[in-house]
Structures are given as C-alpha cells and as structure tokens.
Symmetry: C2
Subunit: 454 residues, 2 copies
C-alpha cells in the first residue's frame, strides 16, 4: 500500500456527480414542516411562495436517493473542490497517539467555509427561475459571505440581514459581502415590520438569528422577483452539503481506509449532515458501523439538552414550524459566546437520527474549544474557525483516549472553515477574557414552556 | 489532449526535491553584498554574525544550480503544497478573451501568502543550528505571520518588529502572530538604540520597513542564540521561493502548455523571483523565450524609476549594502499607499536581470489595482491580496490586448496571497476614499542625491 499523502485530493473528474439524499435511506423520516397558520404539513405550493421552486421540491423529497448536480454548479465547484482530506500527521505526532486523524478541510475558498457548497446551488436555482435576487440572514457571517459570492457569480441581487452584534463586531465580514456586491443590513432593522416590532419591544437588542430570519423572509415574500434562501437547518441544505461526505468517503476508499469515528460540529447542522451522510447511510442499511459524534457548544446545547418538539424556526413566527431538537425559538445564547453554532434548533434530519440512537452528541465549553484550536493551528498550520474548533476538541480527546488504550483508530473530522474573521475571539481567549456560560435547567424549562402546543 | 482542469495539482511526490538557484545560470551575476563599515564584499564569517550559517552560505552561493530541499522542510510543505495552478476559465469568459489565463495560487495557507515557503526553510536552518529564536521585521504582515507559524512549528522564539502603522491598522494580522506565539513590537520602538534614535528625530513617525529591519538586526546581533531572518530582497529568499516557479512549470509541462507571458507583482522581489526562476533560466540559456513582466506600485517604483546603485538595505545603515534598483534607503511611500510592495529597493538578482534587458517592468496606480482585484474576485471567487492585484491588473490588460488581436496567448501570473486582512483598504477603495500618489522627479532626485558613494 502506497504511503498516505498529507492531502488526499480527488481529481475534478472524481468529484461526485450527484448529491446524496440521506432521508431516502432513513427508516424514520424527519417529520414534515408545518404551515405556521394552519399547523398542517406545508405543501409545495406554500413553500414556493418563500423558497425557489426547485429548492422547495428538494426540501420535500425524502425518497430520491441521488439528485444530479447540474453541470453549472459542478463547474463552480471546480474552483474550490474537490476539497482535500488531510492526514493530520503533525497533530498525531504532537499528541503521541497511535490514532490516525483525518480532516476534511472546507475552508479553502474566500467565503472561508463549507457554506459555499449550498450557496452556489441555491443561487443557481434562483437564477434558473428568473429571479432578480434573494434575501437571507447571517450570524457569524460565513453564510452571508458565501451567498454574496454565489450571487455575484450569477449577477443576482443579494440582501443580507446580519445579526446586529456581528455586524458591529465583524466589519471585515461585512466588507467581504460588500466587495461581492451584497447589501448588508444590521438586524433588527427598521426596514421590516417584524424588525420594527422587535426594536419597539427590545430597544437595546443585539439581534439574533431567529429575528434576522424573520426579517429576510418578510422582505422576500413582499418583493417582486425575490425569494428567501438559507444556509442551514433545512433538508435541502443538508442535501447540497452531502458533497462533503461523499468526497470524504471516496478519498478514504481510495486508500482503503475505514473510518471508526466521524466527528463534526453542529449548529443548525449543515456541515455535520453533509459530512456524515454516506457513512450514516451505510450504518442505517447495516453495511458498516461508525461512531458518529455531533459536537455543540455548552452555551447552546440543542441536541444534548433541547426538547424534541415542533417549534418555530424564527423569532417572528412567520416561517414554517419544524420538528427538531430545540431550546425554544426565543432562546439566545449568552452574549459572550463566540463564533457561530448559536441557532436555537437543529436540522430535523439530525434530530431524528439522534433520537433514533444512530448518532451521539456532546457539548463543550468554549475555552476548551479555543484551546484545542490553538493547539491544532500551531502544528497543522491552518487557523480554524471557532465552529470547527468544537470538532477538533473532541477529535483530540478521542485521539488521547487511543493513546491510553493503544488503539490505532481512524478518526475523521470536519474542519468547516478558517478563523480569519474571528481573531477578536482568539484574542479574548488568549487574554483570558473569555468566560464559559452554561444555561441552567430552570432557564431551559422556562423556554420549553413557551414551545407551541402541537 | 485531455481537457485542462480548473486546478492543476501536482502530487506530493511530484513536488520539487530541490530549489533552483537562478544565479548559477546568470551571465552577469548580481553584485556582492558589501560590509557597511569596510565597504568590501561581505565574507561568510561576517554574514554568519547576523544570519544563520546555512542561510549565509546559500546567500553567497551563485554557482550551485540545484540545492536539495531537506526532507523536514518538504514534509512541512506537504501541508499546503504543491499549490494549485488554476486556469481562470471564469475570468476568461468574463473578459471575452481568447487568451488562456493561469494563476499560481499561493494563498491556501494560514499565513495567506507565499512567504511561508521561505519562512519554514529559515526556521528549519535556525533550529538545526541550535538557536533559541529569530528576529525579523514585517510591513503588511504577511512575512511576520508566516515566520510566526514556522517558528511555532519548530518551537523557536520569534520576535517581530512590525511597522507601526500596520501594527495599529491591522490588529488581526498582529493577533494571528500572537496565536502562533510570536512577540510583536510596533516599530520604531524604545527597545533598540536605533529605534530610540529614530523616535527622537521623528517623534510622530509611522515607521517604515527600513527602520524595522534595523531594529530586528540590532536585537539579533546582541541577543545570545538569536539571528536575524527576512522575507524578501535577499538571494536566499529567491532561492526558496523558486519552488513556486518549479511547480508552475511542472504543471504547465504536464499539459504541454508553453507560457507566453509571465507576470508577477514586485516589492522586494521574493515572489517574482521565485515564480520566474525556471522560465528565466531557460531564457538565459536560450532554450525558450518568454515575456516576463514585473508589476510594481506607481507610489513605490523601484524598478521603473529607481537608480541602479549600491544602497543600504535599512534605515539605520547597519545591514550590508546591496547593489540594486533603489529609491534610496530613506524613501517611504505615501501613507495612503495600501498593502505591501513598499520597500525602497529590489532584489539584486531581479535588478540585474532588469538591467540586462531580460525582464520588463511596469507600474500601476493603486485604484486600478483594486478595481482589477474586485473584478477578479467576483468571477474567480478568491479575494486577492492588494499585492497580488498588481499582477491581476496587468494580466487582465494583456488578456484584453489578446481580445483585440485575436491571439490565444498563454498568460501566467502569480496570485501571491489572500486579502482577508486588507479589507479596510478594499473598503476605502469602494467608498472612493483611496487616492493615487506618484512621487515627483524632484523627490526622487533628492533621494538619489543621498545614495552612498561607492
């Protein structure tokens, strides 16, 4: 067997030609989205008022296993894909572990994360439908950046509602979106009725993802030629992100490597769902077994401590309801929480898989997360995004367990993006100004009490 | 012939095993460095007081064509090399040019630029020599970032003197260096006698590269177990950077492509010298002909308007003198100049090649440079560093000439790095707050009058 290189690259021709729809293989399908007025399952016609036609179709399709990736999207992918699967030789040596650590690196593009995989697909379908533009929200800013790049490529207008605290703390993120021609509005804003309502009730608010979603949806449904797009939580996003897992699996297969543990960070679930898709498919079909671990922040622990219930996806309650692991649509993680992974809910698909015992979940303090990120950066070179540091934390912990037991397990994790725009957070950590915050049981119970009765 | 992919990747095994020392093929060798006291050619023993032994040897070696890359350095390279040679299909389509445009992308590593190629080599030789640490200067911050990464990998202490205006305007750059464990001091500082002298004479100064070099050298020669390292201008840096050109040539050869025009930005010359090395070698040996174009800022035009003379490399006049194209060691580009490429001189090797008529040079206004960068970013995805935008500007201009003439030339340029830490400059450009500055003939003549009489 040939020595495994540092970076396993597939050729552009080996790049997957279809996305993999994991739901087709699930025995318990994720519960359907509900119309917020009627509380009945959303129809295609209803979804098409908010979302692009083809994307609404993809959202509802839980039976087609493989959905071809249009050539135009594959051509865009070629600019930054296939992404490398990297063997962390230097980290292994540093840890002195017999484990073999691999990471799928999705940060090698200007948006700095995996979000571009779905952004370009959504922009493509919007263009194909003849739309003028799209609206969206962004929190940490990765999704907004990716979407602005994708829209600029297709000449679509892009209106981003950016959570106010990020807008102010991340001027560089904002500027990248401007360079790509997007308009960026701090949320809540006076541009929407839901924004004005929230500002009236909470004049000093820093904003939240749930609120920015409401604003973006309101604009999309009221503006001729616009639709709303989003970068996580929904099934269609997990579908596009399956390219991460398909490439990872193909790269491992190329060298005859069988993953033992697969680790990903989880906020809304876009990256994790994509990374694990083909492995989970094999696991469900009984072809192979894998330990699959979702890692979330202790300050926003939807999988590990959330309720499994129908909940609103947005603060303004104008979006469909989803059955998911949720902390309640009014839950906002502590202001000291750095980076993304701050959404109150979790993709219905991942929530169902977790409930079915097919996947583990764990939560970590952010100081431990940054500690792992810096340890990783110093030997592997790459400066990771805070989100990615969650996966790194657990990958290191599992590798250290292997050191104790002497097992040479194959650990695979998703390195979702780079931390170039998160350096204030790194500085806070290094200066010991970063605190950990864990919501109390009472807080969560109070939040659960407000869940809609469905 | 197979279709040329978007990204031509060499395998790790195809990565060059030796650096190419272009000077060995030059008919007119670059003039030797002179000792600033004696004004006689520097000896190896003299250089070793300031530089690492092996690096001093490489600096003086103008006859060995190929110098093997130690395995330890090649292993580090594997984390981010071979870097892709990208076919700019989308830019070609946007421009409607029959030209084929290729760019060698060196920004896919956390330092964000090609500087890491030499940083890791220099850190390796320092470690091998048993040193405790190294000192250096950084202007725009790319070199300091790269060196801090390299030193962290080898556990070396890294003291960076950062030009004061960059230190203040680029907190993220500073923080990346901190994450990698470097100490970063704004220059001029009160930590060195040369810094104190400059502060006394110019209390409100923003600092300059020449001044930061003097401080870094002063600390290196006075501190037990330390040496000075630097990221451009010197022959040894061009040697390490030859890996850029060697990979570029190998990738083109793989698909039977003959470059017609090779374009690179030029400040001190590190990237350009590396990119053009094997092509220039063929040109000198008469095996092939290429148009080779250096692009510099109009605000710091050392090649196009500088004197060709012996000059000091630093403001404090404690470093060796080099014969080079220079604007004078006290020349500081206008404060409104964004990005790097602000050094007063140019590598002796490139200066000699230019004087010998083997290379062209052109200069461009910074507003035209940012215009090109944004045009590129919107179709090719990558957000380029301001330095790289200089090469992009001329590559686009040459591609548009091909559109007029109908020629399908192969244009190759160096995309040295990413612009994630230069977004304030992008914002100034977009907000039309960026001016162009061109030094007057009188200014330059006054500066030339102060050149040392050698």
């Amino acid at each position: 067997m040939e020595k495994i290189p540092y970076k396993i690259f597939l050729t552009e021709e080996e790049m997957p030609k279809s996305w993999y729809n994991l739901r087709a293989d699930m025995n318990n399908k994720p519960a359907p989205l509900l119309n917020p007025q009627t509380k009945q399952p959303c129809t295609l016609a209803e979804l098409e008022k908010v979302f692009c036609k083809e994307l609404a179709k993809q959202e509802l399709d839980d039976s087609t296993r493989f959905i071809p990736i249009p050539d135009e999207i594959r051509n865009f992918y070629r600019m930054f894909r296939p992404s490398p699967l990297i063997r962390a030789y230097c980290l292994e040596e540093k840890l002195g572990t017999p484990a073999h650590i691999y990471y799928k690196f999705e940060g090698n593009n200007t948006s700095g994360s995996h979000k571009l995989n779905s952004a370009i697909a959504q922009a493509y379908y919007a263009k194909q439908q003849g739309l003028k533009g799209v609206t969206t929200e962004t929190g940490a800013g990765q999704w907004g950046t990716a979407l602005s790049m994708a829209c600029s490529y297709y000449g679509l207008d892009c209106k981003v509602f950016m959570v106010k605290v990020s807008y102010e703390q991340k001027p560089f993120r904002r500027e990248v979106m401007h360079v790509y021609g997007a308009s960026v509005t701090p949320s809540p804003s006076i541009e929407t009725s839901v924004g004005r309502k929230i500002l009236m009730e909470h004049p000093g608010t820093n904003g939240s993802l749930g609120c920015a979603i409401s604003e973006a949806v309101e604009v999309a449904v009221n503006l001729e030629g616009y639709r709303y797009v989003l970068g996580s939580v929904m099934n269609l996003v997990g579908l596009h992100q399956s390219i991460i897992g398909l490439e990872t699996k193909a790269a491992l297969d190329k060298y005859g490597i069988k993953a033992d543990i697969i680790i990903g960070c989880a906020g809304g679930g876009s990256n994790l769902q994509g990374l694990i898709a083909p492995f989970m498919g094999e696991k469900i079909r009984g072809e192979n077994d894998y330990r699959i671990i979702a890692v979330e922040p202790k300050s926003c622990p939807s999988l590990t401590r959330g309720a499994f219930a129908y909940d609103y996806c947005d603060t303004g309650h104008i979006c469909p309801l989803a059955k998911m692991k949720t902390l309640g649509s009014n839950f906002i993680p502590s202001a000291n929480h750095a980076g993304g992974l701050r959404y109150h809910g979790m993709s219905s698909t991942l929530s169902q898989l977790y409930e079915d015992g097919l996947m583990e979940a764990t939560s970590v303090e952010q100081t431990k997360v940054f500690e792992a990120g810096i340890e990783f950066a110093r030997v592997e070179g790459i400066l990771p995004a805070p989100e990615s540091n969650h996966a790194i934390r657990i990958a290191i912990d599992e590798a250290l367990k292997c050191k104790e037991t002497g097992e040479a397990k194959n650990i695979v994790f998703g390195l979702t993006g780079t931390g170039y725009f998160d350096l204030f957070a790194y500085e806070r950590y290094r200066n010991k100004e970063m605190a950990d915050y864990i919501p109390t049981d009472e807080e969560l119970q109070a939040s659960f009490a407000k869940l809609p009765k469905i």
